[in-house]
Amino acid sequence: MQLVPLLKTIGLLNTYFGTSFVFTALSLPVAVFLYTGFMRTLPRELSEAAVVDGCGLWRIYTSIYMPLMKTITVTVIILRATYIWNDLLVSLVTISDATKTMLVPRMYAFNSSTSTRWDLVLASSVLVSIPVAALYLFLQKFYMRGLVSGAVKE
C-alpha cells in the first residue's frame, strides 16, 4: 500500500495529523458534493449584491455563504465523523504505535483465529457507539434538512 511509504517519507506515519490527512482526503469528495449541491440552491443575486457592495471573495464566503451553510455543515459533520469514528482499515494501516491506536482496532484484539470473546466485543461495541449515538441524537433535527437540501432545484 503506497499510502504507508508516503506517510513515512513525510514523517507523518504514527501521528494524529497523518491519519487525519488520510481521513480528510477520503472525506472530501462527499463533502464537496454535498456543499456544491447546497450552494447551487442559493440565489446568485446574493453574491452579486455583495460584489456591488464591495465585498471580496473571502468576505462573500465568510459573511454570506458560511451563515447559510449551518444545516449542510451539520450533515457533513455527522456523516464524516461517524465514518471516521467507526473506521478500522485506515487507522489500522497508518497507526502502529499502541498508545495512539483508535478504539476500533483495539476492539479487533478480542477477535482471534481460534476464538472470539463475544462478551468483550459486545461490551466494547456498546461503549464505542455511545458517543456517535449521542452526536446523532443531538444534531438529528439538522441532519435530514441538510441531506435533502440541493436535491431539488427550486
Binding site: Y16, F17, T24, S27, T36, T73, M102, P131
Partner: protein, 98 residues
Amino acid sequence: MSVIFLGLFTAFVLFPIILALLNSFKPIAAIQRNFLTFDLKTFTLAAYDKVITVLRFGEGLWNNIVITLLSTLMTVVLGSLMAFAISLVIQSFFARFT
C-alpha cells in the same frame, strides 16, 4: 399497511442493537449457551470493567476524539472552500448564456 411495514422495519433495525446490548451484560458462558434469552441472574458488568482496563478505553477514546475532530474540521473547511470555488465557476459559466 405503512404502519405495519414501518414497525417491522424498526424491529429489523433495532433487533441486533438490543441483542448486542443485552448480551454485553452476560458472561461469555451464558452467551454461548443461548444468546437469544436474558436472565437477570446472569447480569454482570464484568465485560465492561475488563474492556475499560484491558483496552485502555480512556486512551483510545482520546485518540478517537482527536483524530475525528481534526479530520472533520479539515473536511468542513477545505470542502466548503472547494465547493465555493466550484459554485463560482459554475455560476460564471452559466452567466455567459443568460
